[in-house]
């Protein structure tokens, strides 16, 4: 697969504030790539640099091998779906969708035919003659999508396009977006702060924080093998424990858990000393003898799952998630339980 976008050590400064600290990543053609992070992490700034609304201070952005720094936004073969849609209020839905084609010099009948097909694709043919203000939020969102896809960009940028929709619509749109991406074969760069959105749609995810890329990988990589405390904590629910790394031998490290039990896990490139491990609550089970000992404080019924809020004998809060099945024998609150870690459940973190 060829590289669609190559971002090389991009730095963006506003006066004395730095929004991006040397971000490097490369996105393949036809990929659904997500920039995930909390607000202010620089994900939208990076997207705006790719679109051309912001100049990069240092570094370069290459689009299919070509440096696009000198190109104004209207000369970049990328299109954007804006967070608040930014539909042109004085134009009909059809005129909105046809606008990019008109700017590219396509004749009236051709562009209306093409815009009509785009509206069909997003199931809005019946609304072609309406003004944007006469549509619901979800419909406006789909018009914005059709408008950005109509000129057949090489790369589509999506800036939190689902954040203004309600939950049901958001879930439906996730599926629709993923299908559209597969149908059109266009590279999607999707910005979101919603980890569920990121995990369900993306081929790969870049987790960002404070202007830096923390980790790049598939949903599975990032969930199962977070490299640092930020990623482990930001993606899903996890237990972060301070542990002592006893010794490191090649790829594996011997870790002393709170309570004194020793386990072996994959090394994270750091030497012996105090470090953190991440343990997902669902990768644990109750056992006769275990790696950790805890007191059950509360049990929360979640339907498919049961959540045990416990406290380790060494004082740390610790969450355990058990599947709700007839076999599950529940400990009484206040009782002491032994917790068994599944193979590979403990991840040693780099920092």
């Amino acid at each position: 697969m060829s590289t669609a976008i190559d971002i090389r050590s991009v730095v963006k400064r506003y006066g004395t504030a730095t929004a991006l600290h040397g971000v490097s990543l490369s996105i393949s053609d036809n990929e659904f790539f997500t920039l995930l992070g909390p607000s202010g992490c620089g994900k939208t700034t990076l997207l705006r640099c790719i679109a051309g609304f912001e100049d990069v201070t240092e570094g370069e952005i290459r689009l299919f091998g070509q440096d696009i720094a000198a190109l104004e936004p209207n000369h970049r073969p990328v299109n954007t779906v804006f967070q608040q849609y930014a539909l042109f209020p004085h134009m009909t839905v059809l005129e909105n969708v046809a606008f990019g084609l008109k700017m590219k010099g396509m004749g009236l009948s051709d562009r209306n035919a093409r815009a009509g097909r785009m509206l069909e694709m997003v199931h809005l043919s019946a609304f072609a003659d309406r003004l944007p203000a006469q549509l619901s939020g979800g419909q406006q969102q789909r018009v914005a999508l059709a408008r950005a896809l109509a000129p057949e960009p090489k790369v589509l940028l999506l800036d939190e396009p689902l954040s203004a929709l309600d939950l049901k619509l958001r879930q439906a749109m996730r599926v629709e977006l993923k299908t559209l991406q597969e149908q059109t074969g266009i590279t999607f760069i999707f910005v979101t702060h919603d980890q569920e959105e990121a995990l369900t749609m993306s081929d790969r995810i870049a987790v960002m924080s404070q202007g830096r890329v923390q980790q790049i990988g598939t949903a599975r990589d990032i969930y199962e093998a977070p490299v640092n405390r930020f990623v482990a904590d930001f993606i899903g629910e996890t237990n972060l424990l301070e542990v002592v790394v006893d010794r490191v031998e090649g790829d594996s490290a011997r870790v002393i858990l709170p309570g004194g039990h020793a386990i072996t896990c994959a090394a994270a490139g750091n030497g012996p000393g105090k470090h953190h491990i991440s343990i997902r609550p669902e990768r644990l089970s109750l056992a006769a003898t275990g790696d950790l000992t805890a007191t059950v404080e509360r049990i929360v019924y979640l339907g498919t799952d049961l959540q045990l809020l416990t406290r380790l004998t060494t004082g740390e809060e610790f969450h355990v998630r058990l599947q709700n099945s007839a076999r599950t024998e529940l400990p009484a609150p206040g009782s002491t339980v032994a917790l068994h870690l599944e193979e590979g459940a403990a991840r040693l973190l780099a920092d």
Partner: protein, 306 residues
């Protein structure tokens, strides 16, 4: 999109008995200060003039006859179309239109500039725009005359830097009148456009650029149509008072730049006045303005119903 919004329920809340008395002051204001003066003027335009000003209560069409028809020096020739006043009207419309255009060309970038400053700076800029309006219009117009007269500061400085050798004859020209109107009414252009640009969503410009529109095309296709209501309001607010203005044409213009405002003004001064004729000229001016506004309102309604 007719029929999209349901008609509001009539008096469904039980406040109906209160509405009429509360609206009374509004109706009284409109009646006393708007309807009554216009009616008075309409009635006066059909009365007979008295020689030292004032009117005689005799119904006649003489004032309108005098405006539109020429019956010769002694009033006994077959009537032909009288061009004197129509020419003055046409000149007034032209002057007002040019002044409006200049106001628009200067006012739009000014409003844009102010609306794109940080909020605190905007208040300061708006204040600066309105400051000249704390001074009486007459004084400002006289000052402008002083500035542009033959041995005034403008000509003196242009000559001292060698740009011109002889003073520019600015006073008593169309240009001076247009300059005066522009200077008088610029804020009426700036303020409504500012209000429209301030509400403008700049993401729309980004969206246009993203969809391959150049800056110029974005201005033409997106910005101007979206802020159009502000532009139209500004143009009306400048055009209408410019049309009836008499200070600027009187002080800055000459015989060749005589405008409707001055014509009407003259009819109500001293013993040479002709009140019915002044009232008739004012009625014709008002009708003209109303026709222009109605054509605009009709066009606007059509555009929205599309």
């Amino acid at each position: 999109m007719a029929g999209m919004t349901p008609a509001p329920k009539e008096n469904g809340t039980g406040y109906s008995s209160l509405v009429a008395p509360l609206l009374l002051p509004t109706w009284a204001m409109i009646g006393i200060f708007l309807v009554l003066p216009v009616l008075l003027m309409a009635v006066y335009s059909f009365l007979t003039k008295e020689f030292r000003g004032g009117v005689i209560w005799d119904f006649t069409l003489a004032a309108y006859d005098q405006f539109f028809l020429n019956r010769g020096l002694f009033g006994d020739e077959p009537p032909t179309l009288e061009w004197t006043y129509i020419t003055i009207f046409w000149r007034s419309i032209w002057q007002a239109a040019v002044a409006t255009l200049i106001c628009l060309i200067v006012g739009f970038p000014t409003a844009w500039f102010i609306a794109t400053r940080p909020p605190k700076a905007r208040a300061v800029w708006l204040f600066l725009v309105t400051i000249p309006y704390w001074v009486n219009l007459l004084i400002r117009t006289v000052s402008l005359k002083f500035l542009i007269r033959e041995n005034g500061p403008l000509n003196e400085s242009l000559m001292s830097i060698g740009l011109i050798t002889d003073p520019l004859p600015l006073v008593n020209t169309n240009l001076a009148v247009q300059l005066g109107l522009f200077y008088s009414y610029l804020p009426f252009m700036v303020l409504p456009i500012y209000a429209a640009v301030e509400r403008y969503n700049f993401a729309l410009s980004e969206a246009a650029a993203d969809l391959y529109a150049s800056r110029w095309v974005t201005l033409r296709e997106i910005v101007l149509p979206v802020v159009k209501p502000g532009i139209v309001a500004g143009c009306i607010l400048v055009f209408v008072p410019s049309l009836g203005a008499f200070l600027a044409p009187d002080l800055l213009g000459g015989a060749k730049t005589f405008m409707i405002g001055s014509l009407i003004d003259e009819q109500f001064r001293g013993s040479q006045g002709n009140w019915p004729f002044g009232a008739a000229a004012a009625m014709i001016l008002m009708t003209l303005v109303l026709i222009v506004l109605m054509i605009y309102a009709r066009a606007q309604a059509k555009g929205e119903a599309r």
